[in-house]
Amino acid sequence: MTYSNAPVPKNANISDDNRGFRHLMLLLLMVVGLFGVGIFSLFKLASWGAGFVPFKYETMLAQQVATLPFSASNSKADPDVIAAQSYLQELANTAARAQNLPADMPITVHLVLDDTVNGFATLGGHVILHQGLLERLPSENALMMLLGHEIGHVYHRHPIRSVSGAVVGGLFVEFITGGSGWGAALIGEQASRLLINGFSRDQERQSDAYGAEVLQRVYGHTTGARQLFEVLQAEEGNFGPRFEMLSTHPNTKARAKGFQQATQHPLTALKVDFSDLK
C-alpha cells in the first residue's frame, strides 16, 4: 500500500467570477439602482398620498413640528409693522376669496423683518414673507403675484407632499442602512430645505399658474407677474446665491417668459412702504 498527498489544486474552492473590480462595480450598480428606484417610488407614492390628508391634520402637524421662529417678529408692538402685517393678510384673504379657497384652508401670512430676499409657504397654510423681498416689489400687483404663488403651494398641498415624501424616503434609507442616521439626515435636510423652499420645478410652475389666476381675477390682468419676475431676475444678478429662493426654483427667465406678452396695464400702488419697517 502506498500513501501520498496530491498537491492542492489551485483555486479549487474559490469562485473567481464572484470577485474582482468588475463584480464589485456590478454589485454597486445593482444596489444603487434598487436603492434609487425604491426611494424614488416611495417618495412619489408618499407625495401623492399626502394630497389626500385632510388639511386640518396638516394644520395640526404644523403646530407640532414647526416652531415658527418668524412669529416672534410679529409680536413687536410697532404699529407700522402691525399695519403691514394686516395689509399682507388682507391681500392674502382677497386672493383666497378670488380663488374660492376652501374655508378649512386658512392662509396665515407672517412678515419677517430682515434683509433676506425670500418668501415661502410651509405646512398649515403659513406663508412667510421676508422684508428684503417685499421692499423690492414695485406694486401691489407684484405682491399679489407673490402671495398668489405661495397660496398656490398651499392649495396644491406642496408642503405636506414634500414633507411626506422626505419622511417616507428617509425612513426607507434608515431601514436599508440599518439606522445609520443617513435617512434621518435626509429628513432633516428636506425639512429645513422646505423652510427655505424645497419644492420641485413642476410644483413651482403649478404655483406660478395659480398666482397668475389670482392676478387675473383680482386685477383683470397679469402684469404683476411680469414685475415680480423682473425683481427676481434682478436679484438673481445682484446677489446670486444669497437669493435662496432661486436655487430650487425654475429658471426665472423661463418663468418670466410666460408673462412677457402681457400688455402694460395700470398697476395698483403698495399701501405700505416695507422699506420703512424696523
Binding site: 498527498n5 498537491p7 474559490i14 464572484n18 470577485r19 444596489v31
Partner: protein
C-alpha cells in the same frame, strides 16, 4: 460628506492591502506545502499496517481569520442578492491550508511523517451574545501524528 470620503478611502486602502496580503499569503502557503510535503496527512482512521505505533501524539494547527473591511463591505452587498461569496471563499481557503501547514509543522517537529484521522473544525468567534462584532473565524485542524518507516 467627510464621513463618506473617509469610508471610501478606507475601502480603497483595505482593498489594495487585503489583495496584496492575500496574494503573498498564497505564495507562502505553496512554498511551505512543498517544504512539508514529506509529512503526509489523511483523514483515514486506521494507521498503515507498517506504522510504528510506539509514539503517537495528537497534533493540531489552528488559524484565526479576520475578514478585511473591503471584503466585509463587498460581501454585505453580495448578501443582498445571495450567491457565492468569492471574497470570503479565498480567505477561508487560505486559512484552511494554513491550518493544515501548522498541523504538519507540529507533526514534523515531533519527528512524525504522517498524520492520520485529520479533522477540520470551524468556529465563529465573532459573536458576543447576539451582537456581531469583528468578523472572524477559527479554523482548527487536528489529527494523530505517527512515524511510518519508508
Amino acid at each position: 460628506m467627510i464621513e463618506i470620503a473617509i469610508a471610501l478611502l478606507l475601502l480603497l486602502v483595505s482593498a489594495v492591502a487585503s489583495s496584496v496580503i492575500e496574494r503573498r499569503h498564497f505564495v507562502r502557503i505553496e512554498q511551505e506545502e512543498a517544504q512539508l510535503s514529506q509529512v503526509l496527512i489523511f483523514n483515514e482512521k486506521q494507521p498503515p499496517p507498517h506504522a510504528s505505533l510506539v509514539k503517537q501524539s495528537l497534533v493540531s494547527g489552528s488559524v484565526v481569520l479576520g475578514a478585511s473591511y473591503f471584503k466585509t463591505f463587498v460581501t454585505a452587498i453580495q448578501g443582498i442578492f445571495g450567491g457565492r461569496l468569492g471574497h470570503y471563499e479565498s480567505s477561508i481557503e487560505g486559512a484552511r491550508r494554513e491550518a493544515l501547514i501548522r498541523l504538519r509543522r507540529a507533526a514534523h517537529a515531533q519527528g512524525a511523517n504522517m498524520v492520520i484521522n485529520v479533522r477540520l473544525e470551524t468556529s465563529s468567534i465573532s459573536k458576543q451574545g447576539n451582537k456581531q462584532t469583528v468578523g472572524a473565524v477559527e479554523i482548527l485542524a487536528y489529527g494523530t501524528a505517527l512515524h511510518v518507516p519508508k
